[in-house]
């Protein structure tokens, strides 16, 4: 496992370098792994990297790019749009010469067209947003402040919003509200029932389940090498 980076386009035509975790041995099969979004990214990070270790073990190179404004990125998340994340994923796919893609949960909202692969438990942007808004309403209520989902969404689309510790731009919220999982014939969904175990993104704390990593890696490996 290595620290790597990829050139990521910025507004105005310049480029920044974003971090990526890589298992790169110049092999034929090269998997771009697109992470889950927001709090789910934390809860699924361990599982995601363990899947990559297993894919590496079966002879598949893998790459996990940081999205601009997350993890080690120097970008300010509050100025980032969903479209910036899509451009970043496309740039990473190009830079690492990906032959396949594995998107985890909301990562499926960011895929470039034409790359074959898998969507693990894909979710609509509106569904992610609904849970983030609800968490904010519940936290505010505990602090004695009453907010409503409709009013928050309307305000957030215009002015941005702090949701579950993430400062999101109005454009991010607007684009997330509309975002649908990539609907491409070359993508296959892997629902949680097929993987088995409990969905780790629902848990209050990050956790890991090696059996789920085994199952996901096996499904992807069989598909890649079929």
């Amino acid at each position: 496992m290595n620290s790597d980076s990829y050139p990521c386009p910025l507004p105005g035509g310049v480029q920044a370098h974003e971090y990526a975790l890589s298992f790169d041995h110049g092999r034929r099969l090269r998997m771009l792994v697109v992470p889950a979004l927001f709090d789910e990214a934390n809860k699924l990070r361990h599982l995601t990297v363990e899947v990559m270790r297993r894919l590496d073990g079966t002879g598949i190179d893998c790459f996990l790019p940081d999205l601009p404004g997350t993890n080690e990125s120097l970008r300010d998340l509050s100025a980032v749009e969903l479209e910036d994340w899509r451009m970043a994923v496309e740039a990473a796919a190009r830079h690492f010469a990906a032959t396949h893609v594995l998107a985890i949960r909301g990562g499926g909202l960011l895929l470039p067209p034409g790359l074959p692969g898998w969507l693990h438990a894909p979710v609509k942007g509106a569904s992610l947003l609904r849970t983030l808004l609800r968490a904010r309403i519940l936290a505010s209520r505990e602090a004695g402040v009453e907010e409503t989902g409709e009013a928050l969404l309307e305000h957030g689309m215009k002015h941005g919003l702090d949701l579950a510790g993430f400062t999101l731009s109005g454009e991010m919220i607007r684009q997330l509200h509309e975002a649908q999982t990539a609907d491409d014939a070359c993508l296959t969904s892997i629902e949680q029932d097929l993987v088995g175990g409990r969905p780790l993104w629902l848990r209050a704390e990050p956790d890991h389940d090696p059996a789920q990593a085994d199952a996901l890696a096996a499904i992807v490996t069989m598909g890649c090498k079929a």
């Binding site: 849970t131 519940l138 989902g149 409990r198 629902l202 956790d207």
Partner: protein
């Protein structure tokens, strides 16, 4: 025999709380839920209600979510069953 809502709600709680199958079976109407599990934050509670909406086919207004609803398993099940009957 358990209702469909009961079975599905047990599964949702087991997913959110990370319960074993035995713990899920042991849930009774009096079993305390979130008041007894202070580590659950607003994000986990929000996720629970979004899952209930998706898997039970119901819509839940944010102002319906209050502490009493989450006091016991029986209270949450009664709420879910009433929602499904009204749907």
């Amino acid at each position: 025999m358990r209702s469909d809502t009961d079975r599905k709600l047990r599964r949702i709680l087991s997913d959110v709380l990370g319960l074993t199958d035995d713990q899920v079976e042991d849930l009774t109407p009096d079993t305390g839920l979130f008041g007894h599990l202070p580590e659950l934050d607003s994000m986990a509670v929000a996720g629970l209600f979004t899952e209930m909406e998706d898997r039970l086919g119901i819509a839940i207004d944010d102002d319906e979510i209050d502490a009493d609803l989450l006091e016991t398993y029986g209270a949450l099940l009664a709420f879910a069953e009433a929602k499904r009957e009204a749907a």
